[in-house]
């Protein structure tokens, strides 16, 4: 796999079928499902619920629906870009994904949702999350840890490209 910026597009080339499948899994991975820990992490309390009951109650009522809308919109944008991976003539050929730079924030958001939800679902420790040499082959848990790290790598790439573009842009008057 190779990643690079190209004329307003973030390009991920030579994606093998395994990584393509992990990319396709991003939208589904953002869903906390029936795991309370994942739901709690994506929609964490804005204050200590024992102390600031009113703030937390208002937040649930007014802010949380807006956050759900923001997260869903980001995921839908990513889903739209990922449709490119379904256009393969040969199902096992390597493919290329082009992400418009305008969608980079949506990608960062969706990747973060997926990483946080997976980490909460599988209750990964900080040591596990920092162990980048762990083999992805094994249990569903190992595969999910690889997914978290792979999505983190994509986030780093997107952030680097965004920073390069900001550095190259002329300063605001």
């Amino acid at each position: 796999m190779e990643v690079f910026g190209n004329n307003g597009t973030l390009e991920i080339g030579e994606i093998d079928p395994f990584l393509a499948e992990l990319l396709r899994q991003i939208p589904a991975s953002t869903n906390p499902g029936s795991v309370p820990a994942a739901e709690r992490r994506l929609f964490s309390a804005p204050a200590d619920p024992a102390v600031e009951k009113e703030i937390c109650a208002e937040w649930k009522l007014y802010v949380e629906p807006e956050l759900r809308r923001i997260f869903e919109t980001a995921t839908q944008t990513v889903e739209g870009d990922l449709r490119q991976l379904g256009d393969q003539e040969k199902p096992f050929a390597n493919c290329t994904l082009r992400i418009p730079i305008a969608n980079s924030e949506a990608w960062l958001n969706a990747l973060n949702q997926a990483r946080l939800a997976l980490a909460a679902k599988f209750d990964f420790t900080e040591a596990e999350l920092c162990d980048h040499y762990r083999s992805p082959v094994g249990s569903r848990r190992d595969l999910s840890l690889f997914q978290v790290n792979f999505y983190g790598f994509l986030q780093e790439f997107i952030l680097r490209e965004m920073e390069c573009r900001n550095d190259a842009a002329p300063p605001n008057e």
Partner: protein, 103 residues
């Protein structure tokens, strides 16, 4: 509701004290606190601080490192409404952020 005593003309003020106290409590500076999270990338957290608070990269990185090393960092303090808005923005970026009254 009557505002004054019909005999003495003295103005009743049964709720003013309480309301003033409430207003004062709301006006005390609140803190926007970001908590450590082993999943969020350091570079991502720095970018969010720059975007939400308009901090230069150096200051954003300093706060990010404080979160990473000490477990939390106070990013901003001021009126409640603004603090809540910052926390809302930070949650939009999926950071663990809370609004707190200073001890």
């Amino acid at each position: 509701m009557s505002a004054s005593d019909p005999i003495t003309g003295a103005i009743e003020s049964p709720t003013i004290t309480e309301e003033t106290r409430t207003e004062l409590a709301r006006d005390l500076p609140w803190q926007v606190v970001v908590h450590n999270d082993p999943v969020n990338l350091m570079s991502y957290v720095t970018m969010v601080f720059q975007k939400v608070f308009g901090y230069p990269k150096e200051k954003a990185e300093m706060h990010m490192l404080e979160v990473h090393r000490l477990g939390r960092s106070i990013l901003w303090s001021g009126v409640q409404e603004r603090a809540e808005l910052f926390v809302q923005q930070l949650h939009g970026y999926l950071l663990l952020a809370t609004i707190e009254r200073p001890n």
